[in-house]
Subunit: 664 residues, 2 copies
Amino acid sequence: MEEVDHLAHERIKAQFDVDAMKVVWAGSKHALDVADRMARLVASDPVFRKDNRPMLARKELFKNTLKKAAHAWKRINELRLTEEEASTLRVLVDEPSYVDLHWGMFVPAIKGQGTDKQQKKWLPLAYKMQIIGCYAQTELGHGSNVQGLETTATFDPKTDEFIIHSPTLTSSKWWPGGLGKVSTHAVVYAHLITEGKDHGVHGFIVQLRSLDNHSPLPGITIGDIGTKFGNGAYNTMDNGVLRFDHVRIPRSQMLMRVSQVTREGKFIVSDVPRQLVYGTMVYVRQTIVSDASRALSRAVCIAVRYSAVRRQFGSQDGGPETQVIDYKTQQSRLFPLLASAYAFRFVGEWLKWLYADVTQRLQANDFSTLPEAHACTAGLKSLTTSATADGIEECRKLCGGHGYLCSSGLPELFAVYVPTCTYEGDNVVLLLQVARFLMKTVSQLGSGKQPVGTTAYMGRAHHLMQYKCDVRGAEDWLKPSVILQAFEARAVRLAVNCAQNISKAPSPEEGFSELSADLVEAAVAHCQLIVVSKFIKKVQQDIPGLGVKEQLQILCNIYALSVLHKHLGEFLATGCITPRQGSLANDQLRYLYSQIRPNAVALVDAFNYTDHYLGSVLGRYDGNVYPKLEEEAWKDPLNDSVVPDGYHEYIQPVLKQKFRLSRL
Amino acid sequence: MEEVDHLAHERIKAQFDVDAMKVVWAGSKHALDVADRMARLVASDPVFRKDNRPMLARKELFKNTLKKAAHAWKRINELRLTEEEASTLRVLVDEPSYVDLHWGMFVPAIKGQGTDKQQKKWLPLAYKMQIIGCYAQTELGHGSNVQGLETTATFDPKTDEFIIHSPTLTSSKWWPGGLGKVSTHAVVYAHLITEGKDHGVHGFIVQLRSLDNHSPLPGITIGDIGTKFGNGAYNTMDNGVLRFDHVRIPRSQMLMRVSQVTREGKFIVSDVPRQLVYGTMVYVRQTIVSDASRALSRAVCIAVRYSAVRRQFGSQDGGPETQVIDYKTQQSRLFPLLASAYAFRFVGEWLKWLYADVTQRLQANDFSTLPEAHACTAGLKSLTTSATADGIEECRKLCGGHGYLCSSGLPELFAVYVPTCTYEGDNVVLLLQVARFLMKTVSQLGSGKQPVGTTAYMGRAHHLMQYKCDVRGAEDWLKPSVILQAFEARAVRLAVNCAQNISKAPSPEEGFSELSADLVEAAVAHCQLIVVSKFIKKVQQDIPGLGVKEQLQILCNIYALSVLHKHLGEFLATGCITPRQGSLANDQLRYLYSQIRPNAVALVDAFNYTDHYLGSVLGRYDGNVYPKLEEEAWKDPLNDSVVPDGYHEYIQPVLKQKFRLSRL
């Protein structure tokens, strides 16, 4: 079989060491090595095939996922994989399943909220998957507002048990992944009621299904909540609905690290600081930001490669048409996304550091940085996931009509990604949390309390309110200090404007609510500044490899200046820059596009994704797109027969005029 | 059965006559009546059921579509429906099928490009559906660039036939709807070659399948191109792939209205003006703009109703939580989309007039307005379809987690809608056409040639370049003249800026290409001005019905000011308004949201969509969302059994530790 690299002419153009960039992207030589080995393992195993996913009906699709999950677990055991290897392998299997919730939510909930004794009892069972758990928080009528949950856990001192109950239709647990068909256990969130008093929402370990025959236990009704966006996508997951009819569990199954109920039914708050919960949130959101860069980079990889393969218009004297990646309209949509993928990768890396820092401080009983860390991760979760969801769809459109085919991989990537904008904190609700923190920070500026971490720049508010950008030529926009100050000035001015307008309202709460759309914009500006500043910091480090640092510098500038162009109104309205300076930034941006152009394909090669993982005919490494598109097409079940099922009943009668004539 | 209207408290708030608004939305009392009757007909017929669509595998789904198409045709005949009624019924069946291409592309192609004789032969067959046709233009390697098609039609004078041939893999016809499994005929676009010379791309009527047994004719290979975005969506359509191996057709099957090939093989251009083709384009794009307002209004209807049903946070003293439609963040995302739905409805109505006007002029051999009409429809197609695709997804997000369920109707609405951004002219390619026309208009300004139609304002370029907005208070932004002039000034200045920058380039073509991203922005500004100005014109008409005009005025202002806010950077950078004036516009916008709020539910009721047509549990007219969500969930095939298929093979072995222990 002839193997031709249709993108060889692109790869030869690269002005940097792709292997060195792979290490930068992966985070370390070790991480690259693990990812590489696991990716090959998955790609070479036929059980992990996924190209047939969009053609399967729900039941087959789900059964196939169960098969993959079991097979992955088998391989993890057989090969005695480390925890790092195992979790990498699960990511690369690339199919949402109950396993994600078991490892990603059930185990961490017990770790974070269980006492040592509870951990000792439950974690070994979970680690061996002798029990499979999920995380049952949201309800049919209740999402973002956790305190609004209706499920109750009422202590019965007579039997030393909690009675878990769903008092209304809207109190049905709804959405938990892994719940619908698989989980044997769940951490259930419910209002704790003891001695006639409601003590707020707490977590309880509840067994749902028999370990013998998998039937739901008495008093428990469970089902799947039905199909979701996309052909394959999250339809591989058994998101579930769950109703409790006075289900009794031992008192010992309340997660009691932070608060306890005694044998007598007394509610006690332990001396373990509640802030610990925020530590877990920082961890989960850091993972989400990492996943954002992963999802966006996949879409960008597909769109960049196919834009280099695809030609349209501009044929000179019968020669080949122009590669679409050479069109400025294509570049101005595609390259900012390429830059965003890198930007999110590095801010995710920084969040890992932040999580370690927060954990260390918590262990030393230092809670001072926690509110800032919490706001920062909330904001970055929101910013990166929204940009990624939009970015994937933009990449799909950048692939023209063929991006609409499932074989492009992009429809499924979009459908499987978008819920990230809603779960673990709705993106708008999170931005309002950030805004609330910013307003608090502004209000304390006069008090001498210095803002910390990502809000430190607000300590220079006075200076930044006066600041005038001194850009006089397009190349001035390449200076990190110029970019940083413009972003800082914009963020601080938007925040201060909001604070001033709120102060004119009858009450702060009314003002906050009335101005919430503006507050969201201020929060976004703050978060974009964080991403820009962390990218700049990254680029200022020593980075080995020929030309690697130079490419990252260009990407960093593209990210910053494309954000500036998109939000030009805010930079101008706050007087941070002049229209002329905005126009120079745009000139510089165009020039940066032409600089990154020859390196584009190599920059997506650096993600080191296998064709299996990409799951896209358009994004194939070898660029051999068109023959493979046809190959995929012929696999469709509709092509099983030349004359389609239904011809005799529904086509022939039309053609043969079996119906009376109309007035048409 | 108890029937409660959970949204009655909303409907009672409306400050206008909903029935009168229904007439405005429909366009006339007659149109409303037809739509209403057809909608009931479809909704009451169990064959047209569509709630099970996302659960069907491809083959069943497709067969079910064939059934609906045949049934619709049967009903159209039985009830002797008029053409208007029949086409309305087809729209309301709401399922893409071969029928769309037959009536929407095949018939119009013959009408537009066939000679009288050809029309007399083929149209009666098509009208009776004795033949079923599709439109085979795009190829695997060729989309936007029609002249780049590779299929050839070579005249053979010996037999008086054309030989249709696919010389390469990339020349396979690819995408045509109805081609894959159903069509008996196609209008095929191919390079006409006669006397050894290529005369460009022309249309040919080619029979594809036997009318006896539906088998592809000799030399013809056809298949379906595989699954596409979404569960149901366009998977009901047999988009196809088609290869010709020297297929012969009679010379008489070349569509010869505009040019002919004689018996001897001479290529002749008739005196019928080629511009006629543009007339058809204006027609097709006007339809697309109408469809945009329809799709967007559906999504908005769902999101508005569910936002009024859904409550989250803000419970006071144990009372109910706040309706999410009362949050300013929700309003600032939702109400501009509500306003856009109305804006696109009215610009679509105006395009209908434009098409009639163009047709009349063409018949009088007046081609003077054609380039402007062509640019204008191209731009509006692009603007409205992009905004609608994004708007549907935004509505989905505005419904929180439940918007991700297929039972919300929004995933399928999005998936079925997005290809509109690509087909009938890629949206970016179209904007570049608009930009080219704008640059031409600017360059002719000095020549005394007065711009016409939607570019007439450019005749006042000199004045508009000097213009300074005189807004001093938020209420000044309610004046139509203020809004219009700001939009005109912005559009003209962006266009003139581009023209000036292009003139600095080594050549106009290089300049145009280098600045194409800016040109796209200028084109968008021009198109937004058109939408705003047509909305203003509509509102200035006499509109009967209590409070109807007032509501439309508010919507018009919301549309204009939300566009201004979103593109603030351009208004400021071009000096059309000051930062202070931008801020006043934003204040006014917030106030307008509070004015429209009590009318929101009634304004979507005015679309007069049945629950069947909406196909959304969240958008139900009666607001009875939660019990129905559960009902839908239980219908999922996964809920056929309590213990899922695959338990014994893939879950039990995990739980029972059938794999060796890992290092974990």
